[in-house]
Symmetry: C2
């Protein structure tokens, strides 16, 4: 009955409209959301896109590509397994069992897996059930409890599984937080300059106001609390409602690691002005100098010392499976711990998480494996330990090689790497000494550092990101490079390119 | 040097602030983004949350829980593997190799896997590299090509890998699309009523205007193009800029399947008024009556017949690994095909995808396995075919059992299931026949259908979602239930509960 009715009516309908209407035009920029058009994201911006084109060209024309190099060195993004970093065996063995639990039933298959791998897989499955099922929107409870235990042991202060949200990397935590805190155009977010562009992009998408506070390059890219305080006062007088102070520690792109005293001062600011603190601590495993101290640990100490002053501080600390020794970027695991927030706030967060249904369950499991690795005595311990040590020393060695190369380059300075996966060297170029460079860049309509990165890419295949994509003091020029790429040849090529560049542009 | 400086300054700083400041208050609702507070998401709303409480209570007090039932039947959400649906062996074998590629090198392990599993894993890895690496933000190219091939074969019309975006389920595609199309408060989105609440929630988060068009219950929940046209005219006169027409086919929560003529009429509307079409086709495998016809196929035919009228139509069609025979909800795989959109629009989409870095790579791989399954002659074919057939007939059988049960219940009507995973029966309650019910619901401040669902949950452990969470014609009452739960006992319990309910409330 339905069919006949619809067919009849719509047949005529169809003819009528075919005969009559004038087709509408496609959408143009003016028809789209302004913020989505204006948001910028340098890490995957113009230069990486050009690098993709060249990579494609090299692959399709291996003999006749016409470039001076045969491959692209992706130093633009912290993506260890895109380069040569091998995933940790422990992680991947457990994940393979979670994907194919029949391994647990098959004697033939299971005998090739260490006992602790099988046990861990069973434990996780006993809580998640199939990893093909949606979990609780906040994340599986067994895994959240495990994360809380990790935090308690790391900091020596209790953590609560109900304050943990498992997330798809740290990015989705950032976008939830910024969305909830963006009341209107006057909602202000204090972000470090230089910063990881995810923050400016998310603030732009929420049509809120980014307020950059400068990190002190002359002081190892440390924070300057006095500047932050005056920015708060100044902007509050202008009617800006300061919502949040974002700190990235260890620093991206700067590679700096904050001292306990720096952290205390930033918590003081949050306590005094009632500002939410976002501590982006995804690089907490990547420490080459000094030690990592979590904001949560320092806050816990302050709350014990002076509950009257600090118990209202609202801290969101973020972690991820994408960095550290795992570098499992593509698996999208992460967590956010919400300390000191109201239940009302956590309920709104849970609703946003629910609208996205559930963070990928294999990524949740990976987070559990990362924060609860094999212990001495476990069958997997030896291999795990060896692989982690190798990754750590390889990263440390590469960071030093690259750092040393920059120290020898003309008109380049660079802070010694302390943590994370990046160096952020400064290019000391100025109008007087490099008149032709400034002229050519202007003619092309690009920034000075962007011009350098384009030349670097076209001449060596090395892809990194200009400092202008992260923010920098006016008339200073930087670039961000990872030190993940294996080998030393690319570093030597860079050195040679640089001296050529100086020769042809320095007057 | 840094350390001494910071310590000195901050020590004093720290004492000063300890001594001086008054701590700020925590955030309250007024300090948070209005849209995030007001957005509603019924599928995981009040009743499912109560069900979680009961589940916890049952587990912790197995002997003395005081309920008439021992377990919760989650009929509130399409989450097959949370119930008893076993994942397809083919998917999980390939995914286990992708997670642990050493299987390919190990003779002992690899001999337990079918050849085509190993070959497919190799093919995917040769493009993605480690699945622990970020992919291209739009998704891996080999997988996008495979999706384009699937669409071409499904529809008999070409599809282009550059138009495919791999996404985390269909939800992230929906949120990207709605975000880009929400210019301001006057951006209007036509959504079906009843609808899947992801749409109203996302529209609310973007502070845009939902415009509900009613599906015709008396006509198997089909669409009524005349009503949609008059809604467009009416709202345009009010200054609403209609951006988009959302269609869910097969229907959620209605379980209806659209005819080709219905689809043509909706495309006509998009062509005539320049409205983006979102075709949510995630249930395209779940067809029990009639056949699935994609919007893309019908559009392709129309473009060939009348390019002058139809080549500007902008269609976004969505698919997911969460439904169909896979039901791999927790793996977060999906794709979106953008047909007829400008490059400008696709670039903005790519930027949003880039800000989220990369859809989970194992989910991308799963999508490839879903749309490119084993073929006759492949080693995995027999098992794959058998498992798929079993899942299909189990779902069909359960849908009919549940449908038959509703047809026997007093004052309940229900359309025959055609597709998807849901039934949306109507409860024929009214003020006159059910005075006490209306009184009690009013006293509790809940909707009539919500009251029924609460009673159903508290008495039988069956958790489903009131129609008010999806939208329904005023003074009509429905509920959405999945037919995924195994067994017949829960259906019989429901029948008995219902007749009890009628006895005690019908005057």
């Amino acid at each position: 009955m339905m069919i006949s009715r619809v067919s009849k009516k719509s047949a005529t309908q169809f003819m009528r409209t075919l005969a009559s209407f004038t087709p509408a035009k496609p959408l143009h920029a003016r028809d789209l959301n302004k913020q989505t058009i204006e948001a910028k994201y340098a890490v995957r911006g113009r230069i990486p896109i050009r690098a993709e084109e060249i990579k494609h060209h090299l692959q399709t024309n291996p003999e006749s590509h016409g470039f001076k190099f045969d491959k692209i060195i992706n130093a633009n993004i912290g993506n260890p397994q895109q380069l040569d970093q091998k995933p940790l065996t422990w992680y991947r063995q457990v994940l393979s069992v979670l994907q194919y639990p029949d391994i647990l039933e098959s004697e033939e298959l299971s005998k090739s897996y260490p006992k602790d791998v099988l046990t861990r897989a069973k434990n996780i499955l006993s809580s998640t059930g199939s990893i093909g099922a949606y979990s609780h929107s906040q994340g599986d409870q067994y895994i959240r409890k495990s994360v809380a235990k990790f935090i308690s042991q790391r900091d020596g202060h209790p953590a609560n599984a109900n304050d943990i949200f498992l997330t798809a990397g740290a990015s989705s935590a950032v976008s939830y937080l910024l969305q909830i805190l963006s009341v209107d155009k006057n909602s202000g977010f204090l972000i470090p300059i230089p910063q990881y562009p995810l923050y400016t992009a998310s603030i732009a998408l929420n049509d809120a106001k980014p307020i950059g506070y400068f990190l002190d390059e002359s002081n190892n890219w440390s924070t300057n609390p006095e500047e932050i305080r005056s920015l708060i006062k100044e902007n509050s007088e202008k009617g800006i409602d300061i919502k949040c102070l974002v700190v990235i520690n260890p620093g991206n792109p700067t590679g700096s690691v904050l001292e306990k005293e720096d952290i205390k001062e930033l918590i003081d600011i949050a306590a005094e002005f009632g500002i939410v603190l976002i501590a982006d601590e995804v690089y907490q495993e990547n420490i080459f100098q000094g030690e990592f101290i979590s904001f949560k640990k320092v806050l816990s100490e302050l709350v014990i010392a002076r509950p009257d002053l600090y118990s209202n501080v609202q801290l969101a600390s973020l972690h991820s499976t994408s960095k550290g020794f795992s570098g499992e970027c593509g698996q999208r695991g992460g967590y956010m711990e919400l300390s000191g927030f109201t239940d009302g706030f956590k309920n709104v967060m849970l609703k946003l998480a629910s609208i996205n249904l559930s963070p990928v369950v294999s990524g949740q499991a990976l987070m559990e494996l990362m924060i609860n690795p094999p212990k001495q005595g476990d069958e997997s311990y030896a291999v795990y330990k060896q692989e982690v040590d190798e990754i750590y020393s390889a990263l440390k060695e590469r960071s030093e090689l690259l750092y040393n190369a920059f120290t020898t380059m003309t008109d380049v300075t660079c802070n010694k790497p302390q943590g994370a996966m990046y160096l952020f060297p400064r290019l000391h170029f100025n109008k007087h000494g490099y008149a032709r460079l400034f002229q050519e860049a202007q003619d092309l309509g690009v920034e000075i550092d962007e011009f350098y990165c384009i030349q670097l890419l076209e001449n060596t295949g090395i892809c990194c990101v200009p400092g202008s994509g992260f923010g920098q003091v006016k008339d200073t020029y930087h670039l961000r490079t990872t030190f993940l790429a294996p080998g030393t040849e690319w570093i030597e090529n860079w050195r040679q390119f640089h001296e050529q560049f100086i020769k042809s542009y320095k007057s």
